[in-house]
Subunit: 341 residues, 2 copies
């Protein structure tokens, strides 16, 4: 098979399309023909040599999510058959024509989603669902602040919050992106300028007197101390990204007075059993909304897998809105419909 | 009744014994004849004007816990009768001969406890139980790090951890105190010098390769970054005190890699319903161990209520080991036995 390989740590052009042996599915794993994958910020760090693949994942092929069709593997009891359209999260190996993935990490792809749309779903929506619903326990009537509202996870999080009966407030630095996000009807009750000098006051006005119940922080250092200052009593902050830096000054007294919780989370390094459990929870609570079109992945653009380097450069330029998807040559198409076994 | 009053913000000698009207129990409240109360660090802050009493509590009478006998009030359905020995946490008002307290915040005092011992139980044990068991979910076989191991909460926390089937490691700055704590058989598997230059290495050796699962931090700034560096994957840090300062530098990336949780907590400001729920949970899980003598409050010394100023000065001197208790004149005695209604 062909796959994108990190030939050495470095800038985007260290990514190269190579011929590699097909993966061999292990116990409980399915073999999948990849139609599309998508780029995540973790891939950029991995490419630069700063975030090695977790044990059990291909060391040199990046790619944390996929959409494709089942070819074979441990089908018995998996609920899947050859030809089924599936999508899911991975520890790595998504930038390839074929991959092996634990069956428990596979979700059926709803009929209405194209391959590119499906490939843009797993990391964004599972991250947002896990952070907001499972970890922060976002409840109906609560308010969630979502930083980096124009990122893949940000655009998914607003929709997950709406689906959970909660209200989302987004922050976003670029005016043009803010306007584009506003037109997408993702469920943001307010979209604020992350760089505004009076952001705290704007946020207080948008959140109401209690403050925000949950912060999904994709930004890191630049979100502080705002994230804590804006928090309601018993509020929860979930730290998912550190794009602007990871070191913050934290006032433990302010945390205690609010009886607040700060939780750090990553998906990539989780054991397969935990990924399967998250996948199941998402399938039960969110897949119907995805099938009905109430949740949809925001795709910035779609490139051929061979242009992974260009896709990385795009994400590093911070000018994308939603996901950058990579399609496998010969398997493209806006809406391929159910595949045949 | 007589009560200790904060006459103005300031040093210990602003505390004065005054004659005040008896409190009038409201709906759901019991009237209690106080036999003993105990001093908490929050009282010192309140005396200095830095931590005003929460709404609904006496503004000028400190005192967050008590042991005494039921005189009357909303007895119906409370499970208590006049003359019953009770103890519990308060929003304030404990430094007095009488107080009114929601019945749900009252615990029966086990037979074997003197009034002074009982008065030393509520804040320390409910704080430790809430932090370790309810908030951090300390599980059998896990390891808890307890900073300020010689404080009232620290000495209670080691015993609560043991009762929960977990292992406790304590840190403590003063060598003499460390030796005294070691002789008390509170359940510390290791007692380390909080000021040792190689504390991190000592802690790693004591905790084992996984690290500590839970940190109960009573110290604040001086516990960082150790508290996070020592943490096992999915570890939990509960911030309960900030004696050494509240501002820390936190590495969000380290928090994320461990998928760790940091939660800030206070008891004093919680609504009565939450205090009642905590009291119930403690009664179910820990009261039998207290009655059996497996849990016991460490009392540094007992002073008359009129000497509250001296008691505050003692606590401010940081040389106490366990609790400083205040006894009401005429109601002292090492083991008064059941009172008569």
């Amino acid at each position: 098979m062909k796959a994108i390989v990190i030939t050495r740590p470095g800038p985007p052009d260290v990514l190269a399309l190579r011929e590699l042996p097909d993966p061999v599915p292990g116990p409980g794993e399915l073999l999948v023909a990849v139609h599309a994958t998508a780029v995540n910020r973790a891939d950029l760090l991995q490419r630069r040599g700063l975030y090695p693949a977790p044990p059990g994942s291909p060391a040199e092929i990046p790619g944390l999510e996929f959409a494709g069709e089942v070819l074979g593997g441990a089908l018995a009891g998996s609920g899947f058959s050859p030809g089924d359209r599936v999508m899911g999260i991975l520890g790595g190996g998504g930038y390839a024509e074929r991959l092996a993935v634990p069956a428990g990490q596979c979700l059926p792809v709803p009929e209405r989603l194209s391959w590119a749309e499906a490939a843009a779903v797993p990391e964004t929506f599972l991250t947002a669902f896990d952070a907001l619903v499972l970890q922060a326990g976002l409840a109906p009537g609560e308010t969630a602040l979502i930083t980096a509202a124009g990122s893949g996870v940000g655009t998914a999080a607003a929709q997950v919050a709406r689906e959970a009966g909660a209200r989302a407030i987004g922050t976003l630095r670029t005016a043009a992106k803010r306007e584009r996000v506003a037109t997408l009807d993702l469920g943001f009750a307010a979209l604020l300028d992350a760089g505004a000098p009076d952001l705290a006051a704007q946020l207080a006005a948008a959140a109401g007197p209690r403050g925000v119940d949950v912060v999904l922080d994709l930004v890191g250092a630049a979100s502080w101390p705002l994230a804590l200052d804006a928090l309601a009593p018993r509020g929860r902050i979930v730290a998912v990204g550190t794009m602007s830096g990871a070191r913050i000054e934290l006032d433990l007294g302010a945390l205690m007075r609010r009886r607040a919780t700060l939780v750090g989370t990553v998906l990539r390094s989780r054991p397969a059993a935990e990924k399967a459990s998250l996948t199941r929870a998402f399938a039960g609570r969110m897949l119907p909304a995805l099938a009905a079109g109430r949740l949809r992945a925001v795709v910035d653009r779609v490139l051929p897998l061979a242009e992974a380097a260009a896709a990385h450069a795009l994400l590093e330029g911070n000018d994308t809105l939603g996901k950058v998807v990579l399609e496998v040559a010969g398997r493209e198409g806006p809406r391929p419909g159910p595949a045949t076994g």
